[in-house]
């Protein structure tokens, strides 16, 4: 679904300003070895379009009003849409040039393209890791569903929740909390945790189960299921790191030299733009979605203001970094808004059910009911949002592979083969 339909007043100012630059280009006679004005125009348009898309993503109105608040699942889908649009335009520019007889394999363009392709290939592993992260969220949702089912399945809806229901819901929620613990504690400890879980189970089994046991901390009530939950671990190897991957994607991406820009007819700027967009999208995805060794230290060398997308790109990084530093989000396993909702709802419900009195007094019961409703809403919003996002991440994978293959083909073709 195209994300640019809403671009309007906010971005048209930027557009008209930038169009002044466009009119400066003279008409150069068509020559496959020199860019003509329409090539430069395309490259310019591409950069401006990227700027527009980024602007739309960061200039979102306040959260309560919008359909897709910043860092929500819907917003993340727009982020991916924007990336796919940019990639498609970039690809069209390159292929168009190839068809017109231009030579992609001439230095310095070949070097720049190979560099871009190396970065692009690193995004593929990230796509696979993100799939795991989305699966984790799906697992979380399942726990929520259990808790909600436990608390709403009252045969006599007038009666307050019983102890069994509360216990069942609390167990599901504590399992959920364990699941969402920041993965830094887990990576490399899969084996350890499993045996830890078993030991806990054995010890708690020998202690028996009394109603006095209140599960305030996550681990002890795990009854072994903590170990089972942890076994739903990442499918990447233990040494794989999203943070390192990001550094590889963005590291060394430098502003093209004026000499290179001239020698490639402006294409060097297009390649640089696409590389920056690739990095920004990857970075934002890692910020939002849980993955192994999520670190946001990687950053781009400063982008000169002459690039129209420089400002919105910086804003994107800044806004996400701000979010990551907030007190209640610092230790979250992912910055997705929905994850925040899960955390809040489950925490709230655990607090509200932290009681020794059964049956529940009416006011408590009302609180529980309210909290349950919120939980159900979160479940719903997750249900419809996760699958499409997973499909899009897979689509990103496919398109990156396809673009890479096509460019590699072009680069290895014999010189002056006309298509």
């Amino acid at each position: 679904m195209p994300a640019t339909d809403s671009s309007s007043a906010a971005t048209s100012v930027g557009r008209s300003f930038l169009s002044l630059r466009r009119d400066h280009h003279n008409h150069i006679p068509s020559d496959p070895h020199h860019s003509n004005s329409s090539d430069l125009h395309e490259i310019d348009a591409f950069q401006r379009h990227a700027a527009d898309l980024l602007n739309d993503l960061v200039l979102s109105v306040s959260d309560s009003d919008s359909d897709d608040p910043f860092l929500s699942l819907a917003w993340t889908r727009r982020l991916l849409d924007s990336f796919l649009i940019c990639l498609e335009e970039f690809r069209a520019i390159l292929l168009g040039l190839g068809l017109a007889g231009g030579d992609l394999a001439r230095p310095p363009l070949d070097r720049l393209l190979h560099d871009f392709l190396d970065r692009a290939v690193k995004v593929l592993d990230l796509c696979n890791a993100l799939r795991d992260g989305l699966d984790l969220i799906r697992q979380c949702r399942k726990h929520l569903v259990i808790a909600a089912a436990a608390l709403s399945s009252s045969s006599d809806s007038a009666a307050p929740r019983g102890e069994a229901q509360i216990r069942r819901a609390r167990k599901a929620l504590t399992d959920l909390t364990i699941l969402m613990l920041d993965d830094k504690d887990v990576s490399g400890g899969g084996q350890r945790n499993r045996s830890f879980g078993r030991a806990t189970r054995d010890s708690s089994a020998s202690h028996g189960h009394g109603h006095h046991r209140r599960s305030s901390s996550g681990g002890s009530s795990g009854s072994g299921s903590g170990s089972h939950l942890r076994s739903l671990s990442w499918s990447v190897s233990r040494t794989w790191s999203a943070s390192r991957q990001l550094q590889a994607i963005g590291g060394g991406l430098t502003v093209p030299r004026a000499h290179d820009v001239a020698a490639t007819g402006g294409l060097a700027s297009a390649v640089y733009t696409m590389g920056a967009v690739l990095f920004a999208v990857a970075w934002a995805l890692v910020a939002a979605i849980p993955c192994q060794d999520r670190g946001l230290q990687a950053h781009l060398a400063t982008v000169p203001r002459s690039f129209p997308w420089a400002a919105p790109l910086t804003t994107l990084f800044d806004r996400i970094l701000d979010e990551s530093k907030k007190k209640d989000r610092k230790h979250s396993c992912g910055l997705l808004k929905e994850i925040h909702q899960i955390e809040r709802c489950s925490r709230q419900l655990i607090e509200v059910t932290d009681t020794a009195e059964f049956p529940l007094p009416d006011d408590k019961d009302a609180e529980v009911q309210e909290a349950t409703q919120e939980l159900l809403q979160v479940c719903d919003s997750l249900k419809d949002g996760l699958d499409p996002l997973e499909r899009q991440v897979r689509e990103m994978f496919h398109r990156v592979v396809r673009t890479r293959t096509e460019i590699l083909d072009y680069l290895s073709r014999p010189h002056n083969a006309t298509g």
Binding site: L124, S235, S412
Partner: protein, 519 residues
Amino acid sequence: MCNDRTNSSDAVEDAAAAAAATVEEDDSVSTSVGRRSSYRSLRSIREIDLLPAEAISDLHAIASRMAAAGYGRECVQVYASVRKPAVDSALRRLGVEKLSIGDVQRLEWEVLEAKIRRWIRAARAAVRGVFASERRLCFLIFHDLPLSTSTTNATATHDAPFAEAVKGAALQLFGFAEAISIGRRSPEKLFKIIDLHDAIADLLPDVSDIFAASKAGESIYVQAAEIRSRLADAVRGILSEFENAVLRDPSKTPVPGGTIHPLTRYVMNYSSLISDYKTTLSELIVSRPSACSRIAPEGNENAPSFPDLDLADPDSQLPLAAHLIWIIVVLEHNLESKASLYKDAALSHLFIMNNVHYIAHKVKDSPELRGLIGDEYLKQLTGKFRQAATRYQRTAWLKILNCLRDEGLHVSGGFSSGVSKSALRERFKAFNAAFEEAHRVQSAWYVPDTQLREELRISIAEKLLPAYRSFLGRFRHHIENGRHPELYIKYSVEDLETSVTDFFEGCPPSLHNRRRSHG
């Protein structure tokens, strides 16, 4: 655990987890799929009982109770979380590794080839053994239970616990094949990638049987199908890349002795292998080579203009066959460039003769290759190397044979008058010098094929010896009546005959003096 305070969720779950886990700990049955003896490639689905029948009926009873009590979701959760490590370790025992795409890109192709081989065996066991058995287990426990796993009324399939348990491992398994399918396309990879493609294509029906029933599992099947398709693309791309590589192979230094160029051997071996793999390749290669007839040779003015790919009856010919012929056309074109590197034109022709002969020979030797390329083209190749042989002879021997001509030796108009003795002496000297030069140089040339070598020598001898014999016969007495005849008549016909056997040996003539004094 017999506390009468209702704590059903904990107790039931614990019981289920304990039951499943203890069985997991000592079930040696589930390891049998991974044992060495099971490594022989599974040709079809072979489900094994992962747990003994008693355990299964216990588990079924437990699951029924939980589902009836409304704890279906927890039951599925526990089941999946217990089976998942079992599946993971089964795959590990089969040798499935956790390699990222980055890891695969960094590995040398030789290493990858070995991994592909192991993967193919492991994948067959994993899909047809491990996954099939897991599905059966899940079925035995859950098939008749009212499981609801979502907040809406959507009916969950009874495969859901199985899909949960197995999905991660399946994605990891196919992840390796996917990483291979997106690697760089270089010619050396062709045949292993065809192997991998075939293995996956072979597995797809089973993957479909096992996974396509559930929504969660469907994505596995889709991914496997995508990977097969990508591998097919890779095969096509690699073939193209190979054709380009042959076209672009640089010609720097000429191969000594005009013998068979390593490129020729490589290309013909490659082509033989292509014909060996023709079953799959005929299916995958569906279009004719796109690059033909429009590529101008790059920067080599001496190379002949690029021939059109002139094929008989495009409709009846397999695209694969068109590619094979194209490969040979491209090879020949490249060989022309390489031939032009020789300063001696005769050696150029010899080089072409050797190489085209080798091509024709390899085609004739391989029934598959010959069947694909066709006798028509084979005839053309044969004609070409014979033509090269003729050109060689003309270029190398014309000058020498001209020394043995009649013209220019007679002084006045009639035959009876004198022969110019000085001219005759010059002729003999010229012949000797030219022949010695040829002998010295061309002994170092090499014709690898024994039969061809013999034929060439015989052909030379057939022209040289009678001419020399007749020349000697007519004019020797003029020299023998003069001074120092041995300076001019250095060789007997027998000497020449013997010397011709030195030609094309690939090494300089022996230092043993072959000249014998006449007479």
